[in-house]
């Protein structure tokens, strides 16, 4: 590459990005859902309590205290390593990462460095171009630092407040190879990883701050990462630190793609840079910190003994994981491939579905995957807020025809609104009654006076003379219009077949 900018040739070369690809690697930190911290017996259930209420000499870093490894944390990490198809390292160890920051209780973080728990695994995901394998570089265990609070905002606070309740919560760090090719794919990877961790019973994604992601992103000429492409110039990269939500990852990376493309288009060199994601504004900003030049002076933690856990790992039997469950949903319940994927993409959804699948697997799949998840998403609610028994009752009402599909959706919306508001809701039956959504059962002969469908049909016919005339003039659409009006009048409670029958009956007589 020539350095002389400004020549036409150069500019053309710089401007041509058609052959580029986005290269993303992720570093994911998840809190392991143990009862106690990684190195002490303090409870991990701190979220509802005041600052520094779940601390002891060990997690406060008081002099003379010594760490003790929580067996469960290692077991959970081994489950993850196995589920991610990793090789467990014969002898791994903890190491100290030395840096000075008030959220560190000891002036160093106990983590793993050159001898991590496990290496070289993979996770198969539904990528942008179908099934794809994302390689895992390593999986290791480390402690979470404390939490810093700046009253009045980071810029204005005169000092920092420190809460060590979080200090020492076990984290698992999962590092991927740079195999991800788009922000959307990154999101999909994270969703699959989250599902896997939850299926393993080691992670609770609903706990605030339980997941944090650092993302490495660059835009390189196609094939840059293959052996043949190695010779090509590196266009530089950004490491976006501390993204703390699933949606945030996609947003931050999408922002970065645009930012980097624009910079490259302008002919800028990107270098290597640490950036921070500002969640509220959906942008990343360059961090001026010296992080790139940090020298962490790792060395083996002398207060802890090494781990030799290969045979232990072999004994661990993994539960059914998302892919296996998806396959089972296809065969056992006859779900469509799309439904099976959606339903198994989240452990809670899968279990919720299995709770009600017995009524009618296909109907239940549609209701859960299409209707329920959509309505929940709209309200920013999780499936765990909904009682499966209650939802089951609703599906039964729909299946037996007591309420129409449309009425069922209305009931569901009302119930979810109630839950969102007050945490509880009436029964679906009560809701149907209160909203008057019970399907209009036809009484007596077609056209009988007390048949509510017939009554509605007569009213519509009286109100819409033009449409009736059009119908008689042979316009087919006019009939559909009249059906719609009857449905509207009955607020969707009439069965379409009934309306058809009644309407054509009355119009036929008149004709």
């Amino acid at each position: 590459m020539t350095e002389t900018a400004g020549t036409t040739g150069q500019e053309n070369r710089v401007m041509d990005f058609s052959d580029d690809e986005v290269i993303i690697g992720l570093e994911i930190h998840c809190q392991l859902d143990t009862l106690t911290k990684l190195f002490c017996g303090c409870s991990t259930d701190y979220r509802d309590d005041g600052p520094n209420t779940h601390v002891c000499p060990i997690c406060l870093g008081l002099p003379g205290s010594l760490p003790r490894v929580n067996r469960k944390a290692i077991e959970y990490a081994l489950r993850v390593a196995k589920a991610l198809n990793c090789t467990i390292i014969e002898e791994s160890e903890f190491a100290r990462k030395n840096y000075f920051y008030p959220d560190l209780n000891k002036g160093f973080q106990i983590t793993q460095y050159d001898r991590p728990l496990a290496v070289r695994g993979y996770l198969d995901i539904e990528g942008d171009d179908g099934e794809k394998r994302v390689r895992i570089t390593r999986v290791h265990v480390e402690e979470d630092p404390g939490r810093l609070v700046h009253k009045g905002g980071a810029d204005r606070a005169k000092y920092t407040l420190v809460d060590y309740n979080r200090a020492g919560i076990p984290l698992i760090e999962i590092v991927t190879e740079p195999d991800i090719r788009s922000p959307k794919e990154a999101r999909k990877f994270l969703n699959k990883l989250r599902a896997t961790l939850e299926y393993l019973g080691v992670f609770d994604s609903e706990k605030e701050g339980s997941l944090r992601v650092d993302a490495n992103i660059s835009i390189q000429p196609k094939g840059w990462f293959t052996r043949e492409g190695k010779g090509k110039a590196d266009r530089g990269r950004a490491e976006v630190k501390n993204i703390s939500s699933y949606k945030g990852v996609e947003k931050a990376l999408t922002f970065e793609v645009t930012r980097q493309k624009n910079a490259l288009r302008r002919g800028q060199r990107l270098g290597t840079e640490t950036r921070h994601f500002v969640e509220t504004r959906g942008i990343t900003t360059s961090s001026r910190s010296k992080e790139m030049e940090q020298d962490y002076r790792y060395f083996p933690e002398p207060d802890l003994r090494p781990l030799q856990v290969c045979s232990w790992a072999e004994e661990i039997v993994l539960p059914e994981l998302p892919d296996a469950r998806r396959a089972r949903f296809l065969t056992q319940y006859g779900c469509s491939p799309i439904h099976a994927r959606t339903l198994t993409g989240d452990l809670r959804v899968a279990e919720f579905y299995e709770h009600i699948a017995t009524i009618d697997p296909v109907l239940a799949a549609t209701w859960v995957a299409d209707t329920l998840l959509g309505e929940l998403n709209y309200r920013d609610m999780g499936v765990s807020r909904v009682s499966p028994e209650s939802f089951r009752e609703l599906i039964v009402l729909v299946k037996e025809g007591s309420v129409t599909d449309k009425g069922g959706v209305e009931v569901l919306r009302s119930l979810l609104d109630q839950i969102k508001e007050s945490g509880s809701c009436e029964t679906p039956g009560e809701c149907v009654g209160r909203l008057g959504l019970r399907v209009l059962e036809r009484t007596g002969e077609t056209g009988a006076d007390d048949d509510p469908v017939a009554k509605a049909a007569r009213e519509v016919i009286a109100e819409q003379p033009q449409a009736v005339a059009d119908f008689h003039a042979g316009k087919k659409e006019a009939f559909n219009f009249l059906v719609g009006q009857v449905m509207k009048k009955t607020r969707g409670r009439a069965k379409p077949a009934d309306v058809n029958q009644v309407l054509s009956g009355i119009l036929g007589k008149e004709g």
Partner: protein
Amino acid sequence: MVSEKDVAHIAGLADIGIEKEELAEFTGRFNEILDYFDILDQVEPGSRGETDLVNVFRDDVVEASLPEDEVLANTREKEDGFFRAPRVM
């Protein structure tokens, strides 16, 4: 040989305050000691040795945390249950 500049760099890395006046003396001593450490160059890089004691664990059982008054007893820089530290930005 490390220079005064190197020693100042190490002091920065260690985040330790070395007075300017101390630097020359420190550097001299530092070099004497590092010269002595050079004997390690003769050691063949070797294994870390046997590990006799491995897999030392504790069970995942909740133990009592410190009473709140003891947590903050050793500092006067506190506020609403938090420790107060110098600002980081």
